[in-house]
């Protein structure tokens, strides 16, 4: 399968990329890892006039913490770097547990976290992680730089808040306070498949009290869903069988699953409740240990 013809530029700096994107607007597409875009080009679901390949732009492949603990993930940070990260496991357990569950190992060698967010596939895993962590996306465009909260980024299947000409340069995760825990739970039919349902759980605790809860759902709606009622039900309370059950039920109610080849809507909703319960029980055990 061949893509249709396009012009190709591989700028060596963000300024150069920005100039091209400003000139071509929505006739241009950014090429990051290509693990979602190239298949679409081959199927001719996408046929841009210009492809702006950002892989030769230096200084975008980082994931690092600022002095205050803010985590920054550059537009060329590949899934594999996050999977093998020495930084993530202790300090960002939710991110560390999600990284190995994205696609398959070969796709992870090329695909990027920021590209996954920009692709805005409701089956994408990273968008749930970023929602649960209260993260944001930094975009650079014709009229400068702006920060878009993850909760306002996705507008529907394959649609997001980026304007024509804008490039996402970084995903940002704010520093967590207190005891931090979290995990990503994903049901897939086989390695490399998208989620039948996925749940991201992130907790910050002070003693026995939950000071911040982040719960987000993958594959059960037109976008990744922040289960805000479930988050609120936990905040300021301890993790007990009752509060965990309540959060699980509220998260399941927030899901908007549809029946498809991966399972029925009722089944997916059930998986969401089970995963929220498991995710929280893990933390309960972790806190006691």
């Amino acid at each position: 399968m061949y893509p249709s013809r396009f012009r190709y530029e591989a700028p060596r700096s963000l300024d150069e990329a920005r100039a091209l994107l400003t000139r071509f607007g929505d006739e241009a597409k950014i090429l990051a890892g290509g693990q979602s875009l190239v298949p679409l080009l081959k199927l001719r679901f996408a046929a841009p006039e210009l492809l702006v390949d950002i892989n030769n732009i230096p200084g975008l492949d980082h994931h690092r913490e600022d002095a205050d603990g803010t985590l920054r993930i550059g537009a060329l940070c590949r899934h594999v770097s996050l999977e093998r990260s020495a930084l993530l496991p202790g300090r960002h357990p939710l991110m560390a547990s999600a990284a190995p569950l994205i696609a398959d190992p070969i796709v992870r060698n090329r695909g990027t976290l920021v590209g996954s967010l920009c692709h805005s596939d409701p089956q994408g895993d990273w968008a749930s992680v970023l929602l649960a962590l209260g993260g944001s996306i930094v975009a650079l465009g014709p009229s400068g730089r702006r920060t878009i909260p993850a909760s306002e980024f996705s507008l529907g299947p394959f649609q997001n808040a980026l304007l024509p000409g804008e490039i996402a340069i970084e995903a940002v995760v704010p520093a967590a306070q207190g005891h931090v825990s979290g995990s990503y739970l994903k049901l897939e039919r086989r390695v490399g498949d998208f989620a039948t349902a996925g749940v991201a759980v992130a907790l910050e605790m002070s003693g026995d009290t939950v000071t911040r809860a982040g719960i987000a759902l993958t594959g059960v709606g037109p976008s990744n869903i922040a289960a805000t009622a479930a988050e609120q039900a936990l905040t300021g309370r301890a993790l007990t069988t009752d509060t965990i059950d309540e959060a699980a039920e509220l998260a399941a109610a927030a899901a908007q699953p549809r029946s498809d080849h991966r399972g029925s809507a009722a089944y997916k909703r059930h998986v969401v409740a089970t995963f929220v319960r498991r995710g929280l029980q893990r933390q309960e055990v972790g806190a006691a240990a």
Binding site: M1, Y2, P3, S4, R5, F6, R7, Y8, A10, L31, G34, Q35, V38, P39, L41, K42, L51, D53, N55, A103, D104, P105, I106, V107, N109, R110, V191, G192
Partner: protein
């Protein structure tokens, strides 16, 4: 030479790029249309047909090659993106008289049936052993989980990779 359309008939005015790619240790300078996929450059342009195109939808891993040592699905990377990089295909893994330990392992442990997934499987396994010379069985299974074997012959593939690891460490001869 021109690849990306028929190399016999070449349309005038089509945007082509001259790229320099090191393929199996040999520097190649070719002109490619930006939309040409790396898999097609290798197979049709450079006649390296050991790289197999399976699903052509980024799912099966049959077309895996190494780009600067890292496994990549060559059906999902543009040939222009290989400019300045080193590509290793199965033809570059070993020679008939001096097989890569992974190739030898595949032979000894009968790790292929139809053989279609074999080149991709071997390149992924080779890359694993470069970064992790002593993998556990679990780590081997994890590493090859992006390469599908439609004959479902995984058991012997895993054995072959473990055999190769041992051979590389001097454990078997």
């Amino acid at each position: 030479m021109s690849y990306g359309q028929s190399s016999v008939v070449r349309e005038v005015g089509v945007d082509e790029r001259r790229i320099t790619v090191t393929v199996n240790g040999e520097k190649r300078v070719v002109e490619v249309e930006p939309r040409l996929l790396l898999a097609h450059l290798l197979r049709e342009g450079l006649a390296l047909t050991g790289t197999h195109l399976g699903c052509d939808t980024t799912s099966c891993g049959a077309c895996t090659v190494l780009v600067d040592g890292t496994p990549v699905k060559s059906c999902t990377m543009l040939a222009v993106q290989a400019d300045g990089h080193e590509i290793t295909t199965v033809e570059g893994l070993g020679t008939p008289s001096e097989l890569d330990p992974v190739q030898e392992g595949f032979s000894r442990e009968h790790a292929l049936q139809c053989g279609f997934c074999t080149p991709g499987m071997m390149l992924t396994s080779h890359a694993l052993l470069e970064s992790n010379p002593d993998p556990s069985e679990e780590e081997v299974r994890w590493a090859i989980s992006g390469n599908l074997c439609r004959c479902t012959g995984y058991q012997n593939i895993v054995k072959a990779v473990l055999w190769a690891a041992e051979k590389k460490s001097g454990g078997v001869s």
